[in-house]
């Protein structure tokens, strides 16, 4: 059937080289996408998947100059020889950052932005805007300002904003990157609904495969090192080993089935955990695998390091960002803090670091009340790493950046040099010590910011979204590094939306909802509790679904068993 249709997007022997680069970023791409298809373009960071997308919407070469060879036809337009404006009439792009792309001052204005630019008369503009808003379900918020909206709502607005042009192709650039798990799930559902209603062609650029596969896609195009490695149906791709070889994490239930010795074939339809075919033999294999190993023993409770008692705080009088929060974190623990945006997670870390003063309640560190300690004094014990490394880096050279925190600490230059070099060694940055920071990748910059906090030798570090926007390899790098620090005795607390991180690296998790601590349990237990998942805007792990389908109880023990096994396998593999 595909043979009789003409493709809506067609790459033929297409290569692209940025003007500033010595090598082409895309090599010899041949790819046809047909009208009405849903295609996932997957690949690790730096694989060229974003460049591919930018060639389709015209950012390449019109905003980022470069050399195109071969041909690229997008909805009948010769893309490299048209203009960004012409392509915008055919391709609607929803960018990664829902905040950054909000142009208008209100929802209505933002949706209408493209219409304004094409000189649509006002009456018609209001009518089209209203219809687009209805399509994405945001019609009751037309007068809202961006800061009154949640991340998911902003994304709906962005989508409506490109729908007004009646584009035939929708392009989503990492739509899940800035959303909490529950909102991410809804985003995928929304994309699916819109595609069915409007019969557009949908392209999703994402490395979080399992999350996208929450709804069906027709094909997955795997990109790495600027080339297309696979262009297969999800069932076929998941049956092979290409994903793991190229740094894309396969869905956890698929990995679990492999561990249990089940042979994954396209006939098993492994694309969805609900519909994967499990015969009696498979179920028995999974059960046997679950029983085969004793469960890891629970550790004794450690001595308390950070104690929070009855903490309440509000930015204004009648608004409580945190109410009556109490918990204890022990020495040497690794804990994650989860919950939807605005649940009070970041505020909690600000209170602990002393950036804000609590309205009531106490914080003890190592048995000592922190009430009279200022930011600087607390910083010697508690390090804080922001989400965006660009917001922390203030020097041009790596050495200077890390040394900054030791200024005025009374140490001699030689002592400072020794401590900075030690820290750089711990962080694996020693070989780069005389490099300018601008030459580093995002992940390396993140490491520099961690180093610049570690140099003060804190007992506790708090990290805000340490793995946001990282692909599986960088994620593993950073997390293994943090685990190494933890093994050396540093207590680590992480604020995160990443459920894999929470499951794999933190035995314990604190879940927040509307400023209250609603759960303080093992991460596996939280992700197997549907009520908690709903409240804290998480998403249940597919391992839980798999355990239920096989009748394995308790499901959380199955999850723990998987994590332990997975860690061993990955440790051997590295």
């Amino acid at each position: 059937m595909a043979e009789t249709r003409t493709p809506i997007i067609s790459f033929k022997n297409f290569s692209f080289q940025y003007r500033a680069q010595k090598q082409p970023t895309l090599h010899d791409i041949n790819l046809d996408i047909y009208p009405g298809e849903r295609v996932l373009i997957a690949g690790p960071s730096g694989s060229g998947k974003s460049t591919l997308a930018a060639c389709i919407n015209g950012l390449n070469p019109f905003s980022y100059p470069g050399e195109c060879t071969g041909t690229l036809t997008v909805d009948g337009v010769d893309a490299p020889h048209s203009s960004i404006f012409e392509l915008a009439g055919h391709v609607g792009t929803v960018l990664q950052d829902p905040d950054g792309q909000f142009i208008g001052l209100t929802v209505g204005e933002d949706i209408a932005f493209a219409l304004e630019n094409s000189c649509t008369p006002q009456d018609e503009m209001h009518e089209i805007t209203r219809r687009a808003a209805e399509l994405v379900g945001i019609e009751n918020h037309l007068d809202y300002a961006p800061h009154e909206l949640s991340g998911g709502q902003k994304q709906r607005v962005s989508l409506a904003g490109v729908m007004v042009d009646e584009v035939k192709i929708l392009l989503f650039d990492e739509p899940l990157a800035n959303l909490d798990p529950a909102t991410g799930k809804q985003a995928i559902e929304l994309i699916d609904t819109i595609q069915q209603k409007t019969d557009t062609t949908v392209l999703i650029i994402e490395h979080r495969l399992e999350d996208v596969l929450w709804r069906s896609v027709d094909r997955i195009v795997l990109v790495n090192e600027g080339r297309i490695l696979a262009d297969l149906r999800p069932d076929e791709l998941l049956s092979g080993a290409l994903l793991a070889e190229n740094g894309i994490r396969e869905p956890l239930y698929v990995t679990a089935m492999r561990y249990a010795g089940i042979d994954i074939t396209p006939a098993k339809h492994p694309a969805h955990v609900d519909s994967v075919v499990l015969d009696d033999a498979d179920t028995e294999k999974l059960r046997a695998w679950f029983r085969a190993e004793p469960l890891p023993a629970t550790k004794p409770a450690p001595t308390p390091l950070l104690e929070v008692k009855g903490l309440s705080f509000g930015y204004s009088k009648d608004q409580h960002t945190l109410s009556d929060v109490s918990f204890t974190i022990g020495k040497g623990e690794m804990v994650s803090i989860v919950g939807r945006n605005g649940a009070g997670k970041s505020t909690l870390s600000k209170l602990i670091c002393g950036f804000e003063t609590p309205d009531s309640g106490e914080i003890f560190f190592d048995g000592k009340d922190l009430k009279d300690e200022n930011i600087r004094r607390r910083a010697r014990h508690i390090g804080y790493v922001m989400q965006n490394p660009n917001q922390m880096i203030s020097k041009t050279m790596i050495f200077d950046e890390v040394a900054l925190g030791l200024q005025g600490s009374g140490l001699t230059d030689a002592e400072i040099r020794a401590r900075v070099e030690d820290t750089l060694k711990v962080c694996g940055l020693y070989p780069f010590r005389n490099w300018p920071i601008s030459a580093l990748s995002f992940g390396q910059k993140k490491r520099v910011t961690i180093a610049s906090v570690l140099v003060q030798d804190p007992e506790l570090i708090i990290l805000d979204e340490p793995t946001a926007g990282q692909d599986f390899r960088h994620y593993t790098d950073i997390m293994e590094f943090l685990r190494g620090l933890n093994a050396k005795g540093v207590t680590v607390v992480m604020i995160t939306h990443d459920m894999h991180l929470m499951l794999e690296y933190t035995p314990r998790a604190l879940a927040f909802c509307d400023g209250r601590l609603i759960a303080d349990r093992s991460a596996a237990a939280i992700l197997c509790d549907p009520a908690l998942i709903e409240q804290a805007a998480l998403k249940e792990t597919s391992l839980y679904t798999l355990a239920n389908r096989c009748g394995i109880t308790p499901a959380e023990k199955f999850v723990e068993r998987f994590i332990a096994a997975d860690r061993e396998v990955r440790a051997d593999g590295c």
Binding site: L105, E109, F113, A114, N117, Q122, H126, F355, S394
Partner: protein, 276 residues
């Protein structure tokens, strides 16, 4: 929040807010022109009364525009000081008499004429200032761009100004969080530090602030281009409202005030002279 201290849009329900951006811009220009051409004290006092009345109507409180107000008053004080320093006899030359109140030093005599002249200059500030503040803080930034566009300024320029105004609160937030993180790393920015050290340390906030702002600009300009910004020489506006009766009334008032000011200036000269 800190966001309210610098010039930005303050939404309210008021007659002034209900006027279209174009009306406000036109009124602002007419009014400023009316106050620029004359030094007639009575006319200026009249204009100032109108100006303060309009400010009252807007329901915006003085507290909310404190920053602008203080900034302008400092500017006014400096202006008066320099007028006096450079030409202490300007008033005498203008009014034709010389009433020395006291001698200060060297060539500086304090004359009643000079004081009156500077009083008139200050009065001009008080006439224009409330209206200028209102134009900025009572005009919805998107209408702001539309209003600039309606008097012939390229919409790209208008939109850049509007976007810049809109990002001020975001950048303030960035500044705040960067500064907290830097303090946590031992960079002292607190009040206990000597002023020059604080100044030097605040540079360590500037670099990350500039970098994050540049990132913002990159994202927003891509988003705008992808949605056809700059495709045509013209564009339409979602928020532009049709002229209502109140707009015509406001414009008529502006024109009448300008005519009064012009008539008085032409018939009685630019200065009101109480010294003859």
């Amino acid at each position: 929040m800190a966001a309210n201290t610098v010039l930005n849009y303050i939404p309210r329900k008021s007659v002034v807010h209900d006027l279209t951006g174009t009306t406000k811009l036109a009124f602002f220009l007419l009014f400023t022109f009316a106050s620029m051409i004359t030094y007639n004290t009575w006319v200026l006092l009249g204009l100032m009364a109108v100006s303060l009345a309009v400010f009252r109507l807007s329901h915006i409180k003085l507290r909310e525009v404190r920053f602008m107000l203080v900034f302008m008053l400092v500017f006014l004080a400096l202006n008066d000081l320099f007028i006096f320093l450079f030409d202490p006899n300007q008033g005498t030359a203008l009014y034709g008499t010389r009433t020395v109140l006291c001698h200060l030093l060297w060539r500086y005599d304090l004359t009643a004429e000079q004081l009156f002249y500077m009083f008139n200059i200050s009065l001009k500030y008080f006439v224009a200032l409330p209206v200028a503040i209102l134009f900025i803080s009572a005009t919805n930034p998107s209408e702001f761009a539309a209003s600039l566009n309606s008097i012939g300024i390229s919409y790209k320029v208008g939109y850049s100004v509007a976007i810049a105004l809109r990002y001020i609160p975001d950048i303030q937030r960035d500044y705040h969080s960067i500064s907290q993180a830097q303090q946590a790393r031992g960079v002292e920015l607190g009040r206990s530090e000597p002023f020059f050290k604080r100044l030097k340390n605040s540079v360590s906030i500037l670099l990350p602030l500039i970098l994050t702002s540049l990132n913002r600009i990159d994202t927003i300009s891509n988003a705008m281009e992808l949605r056809g910004f700059g495709k045509h020489d013209k564009r339409t506006w979602y928020t532009r409202r049709p002229f209502a009766r109140r707009d015509f009334i406001a414009l008529a008032v502006g024109v009448v005030l300008l005519l009064i000011s012009l008539t008085v200036t032409i018939r009685f000269g630019r200065f009101y002279n109480p010294f003859v």
